[in-house]
């Protein structure tokens, strides 16, 4: 299934934050983590993110499941960067024939892995707690994005889970016609391409029908739209943005004070 289980209830504190405010906070924290090239700044940011989780109303188990792939990815980043660093600096920790890992390279690799962790964790906290409809509402109301694009994308998103079901139907129908990938990679690739073609033909037809139905309900008219549900920036939303900026600044300041800070060049 393409739909993901929500990581929090609809009335949890974080779900009630304006989506655009969350978007801004995520952007501030992630950008800070990506600009700082040392290991201390992202580590402090990660600690700050972890400290906020208990106050958001997020279910920890669901969040853990959603983040599980991240630890694997971050670990891989650390190893690859430590192994393939341009030169192994510092004290050599490990030496296996041609493979050497020095403390300098390991520290650099860890820093990169931590930055990936911060950006991804902030993203999951921000987006997994946001209803797509609320996001579209806030984008059109606060950021004045064009309705044609934003609502169009929202409508397309609603049709996405259908594609999974249709893929299975087409594959079944192919078997009925005597087509099966089996172990032959060439045959598998050709079958994949032809299944994808059939899926796309159906998706394009469906998109055309959806567009006509939306136009028939006045979507393309010149009249400015009103909004059934107003999204507002409340005081708390501004506090969230300010807090994320303050925490980011504090992390950088602490890192500079301790002498470890380097900027990404």
């Amino acid at each position: 299934m393409l739909t993901l289980a929500p990581v929090c209830d609809a009335d949890a504190p974080i779900a009630r934050v304006n989506p655009v405010a969350k978007l801004a906070a995520v952007a501030v924290v992630s950008t800070t983590a990506l600009v700082a090239a040392d290991w201390l700044t992202p580590l402090l940011l990660l600690a700050a993110l972890a400290a906020t989780v208990p106050f958001t109303g997020i279910r920890l188990r669901a969040l853990g499941r959603r983040l599980a792939w991240l630890w694997v990815a971050a670990g891989t980043v650390v190893i690859v960067n430590a192994l393939f660093a341009a030169e192994q600096t510092g004290r050599i920790l490990l030496s296996l024939g041609p493979v050497e890992i020095g403390t300098g390279a390991l520290l650099d690799g860890t820093a990169i892995g931590l930055r990936v962790c911060v950006a991804a964790t902030a993203g999951v906290l921000g987006f997994a707690t946001t209803d797509p409809t609320d996001l579209a509402d806030a984008l059109t109301q606060q950021l004045k994005t064009p309705a044609r694009f934003t609502i169009g994308a929202l409508a397309a998103l609603r049709l996405l889970p259908l594609l999974g079901a249709e893929w299975r139907q087409i594959t079944t129908a192919r078997r009925a016609r005597g087509l099966e990938g089996g172990w032959n990679p060439v045959r598998r690739a050709r079958l994949f391409a032809s299944t994808m073609f059939t899926l796309l033909v159906g998706a394009i037809r469906r998109a055309g029908r959806l567009a006509a139905a939306m136009d028939a309900r006045g979507f393309d008219s010149e009249t400015p739209r009103t909004h059934a549900r107003e999204q507002r920036m409340a005081a708390g939303d501004w506090v969230l943005i300010a807090a994320s900026a303050a925490v980011s600044a504090a992390a950088v300041a602490a890192s500079v004070a301790s002498g470890t800070f380097t900027a990404f060049a």
Partner: protein, 479 residues
């Protein structure tokens, strides 16, 4: 209420040589309720799209005028509401209430008013849930009623219905008809409906307009009078005229067993009950067995298991002469023994021309070239697809695509053919063709299993009926 007028209206779709509609003159008075009839290709859908103001300059070429209260339809779009065929592609939002609100937001309705108008519209169509109900959790009939609420909430002066129940199962169609009946009785809007199942909408309309090919006017008047005078001609064109006789094609004696299902069960992990639970049956050559039952009773699951297309969690389906059960046969071998025809014909098309589509099965089965060519020529002739032999299957009309999908599955002459809702959404003419085609296949000695909601289809062809309820075989009826 709004007056509708076509004045010498003609339309040619961009890229087509022939006109979809060639010169229509028509007037519908304010508040009238009109049924528009005609064979496929008579331009009914084009006329509806013109009324909805959905024909734009870049999609084709227009002559004449389409006027709503004397103004071009394209300028009056805010006063028109359309209910389309396909429920899935009419809903825009993830929550039911938001979806109804969508049309009101586009109309710039005052935000304070929207909520109450949404609730009133949901009430009017008998929507059984609250406004927060996710739209993906609705059945087809419920989705279609929600789409109707979206139309009504905008308080249109002209309501257009484009075969509103064609994509629904009988229960869903009944719900939507009820909702239409109730909400139209409360509305003073002018209405135009396109529908070939006349009996379904007869009590909603007071006038019938019948079109011929190209949109020529065949008949116009009160429903009873038009149907009495032109019933036969309309039936021949594909309209389901109430009371018109339907063919019956009884089978001869059945032959030996061609497929056997033994204790077939399929339980999806996490489901509270199996989709299919311990169903056994035998299918003989020269007979058609209908599989019937309400939604969710396991009919489609049975078709998949009988076709060797899903792995049962218990029991097995097998054909004589194969040591392995069907679901373990390699696809190529399976296709030569058991053919399956799905609801959506396009899912089955695997080549770029009608001719290759028919040759595909025999080639897979390793037939020599001359035998394949002879078989393809025979099928093209029999199914009246010869003029379309080089056409791309994806460009065929609904009826043609369905005939081709049946022909493709039986080209390599399997002894067994499994059909899933073969007559779903077809007009009377295509229906008749499918009944004849199916009867011929059966009488040549093929064993057929047909999952169907269509009582008439079962009555015309089936020797026996397997009735499923809640995944179990509730009864087996001989006819």
């Amino acid at each position: 209420m709004i007056a509708v007028e076509f004045r010498g209206f003609a339309w040619r779709h961009a890229g087509r040589r022939a006109r979809a509609v060639a010169g229509v003159d028509l007037r519908v008075e304010p508040g009238e309720r009109v049924l528009l009839l005609g064979p496929s290709g008579s331009g009914k859908s084009t006329l509806l799209a013109a009324l909805a103001g959905l024909l734009t300059g870049d999609s084709g070429e227009q002559d004449g005028e389409v006027l709503l209260d004397g103004k071009p339809a394209a300028e009056q779009r805010a006063r028109v509401g359309v209910l389309f065929q396909d429920p899935e592609t009419q809903l825009v939002m993830a929550r039911s209430g938001d979806d109804v609100a969508f049309g009101l937001e586009n109309q710039a309705a005052p935000p304070g008013e929207i909520h109450s108008r949404v609730l009133a519209a949901l009430e009017a169509v008998g929507f059984p849930y609250g406004p927060d109900r996710p739209t993906h959790a609705l059945s087809g009939g419920e989705q279609q009623r929600l789409a109707l609420a979206g139309v009504l909430a905008r308080r249109p002066d002209l309501i257009l219905l484009d075969e509103p129940t064609a994509n629904l199962d009988p229960e869903g169609a009944q719900e939507v008809r009820e909702a239409l009946r109730r909400s139209l009785a409360d509305s003073r809007a002018t209405m135009v409906v396109v529908e070939h199942r006349v009996a379904d909408v007869l009590d909603l309309v007071d006038r019938v307009i019948a079109l011929g090919p190209g949109g020529t006017l065949l008949a116009d008047g009160p429903a009873a009078a038009v149907l009495a005078a032109h019933g036969d001609a309309l039936a021949a064109q594909g309209v389901w005229v109430p009371g018109a006789p339907l063919p019956v094609r009884p089978a001869g004696p059945a032959g030996e067993v061609a497929l056997r299902g033994e204790h077939l069960s399929l339980a999806h992990p996490g489901a509270d009950r199996p989709a299919l639970d311990d169903v056994s049956f035998a299918l003989r050559r020269g007979e058609l067995v209908a599989v019937t039952g309400p939604n969710g009773s396991g009919k489609s699951t049975l078709a998949l298991l009988a076709g060797g297309l899903a792995k049962p969690t218990g029991g097995a389906a097998a054909v004589p002469g194969e040591a392995r059960p069907l679901h373990r046969l390699p696809a190529r071998r399976l296709a030569a023994r058991v053919g399956s025809v799905f609801q959506d014909p396009e899912h089955q098309f695997v080549t770029a021309t009608v001719r290759d589509e028919l040759a595909f099965g025999p080639r897979q089965a390793g037939w020599p070239a001359d035998r394949t060519a002879a078989r393809v020529a025979e099928l093209l002739e029999r199914l009246r697809l010869a003029p379309l032999a080089e056409a791309n299957p994806h460009t065929l009309s609904g009826g043609e695509a369905r005939r081709l999908s049946v022909a493709g599955a039986l080209a390599a002459a399997p002894e067994v053919l499994i059909l899933d809702e073969p007559t779903f959404g077809q007009d009377r003419r295509t229906w008749g063709e499918l009944v004849d085609l199916t009867a011929d296949i059966r009488d040549e000695g093929t064993a057929l299993l047909a999952v169907t909601h269509d009582r008439d289809f079962a009555a015309a062809l089936a020797g026996r009926e397997l009735v499923l309820r809640g995944g179990r075989l509730a009864e087996e009826e001989g006819r």
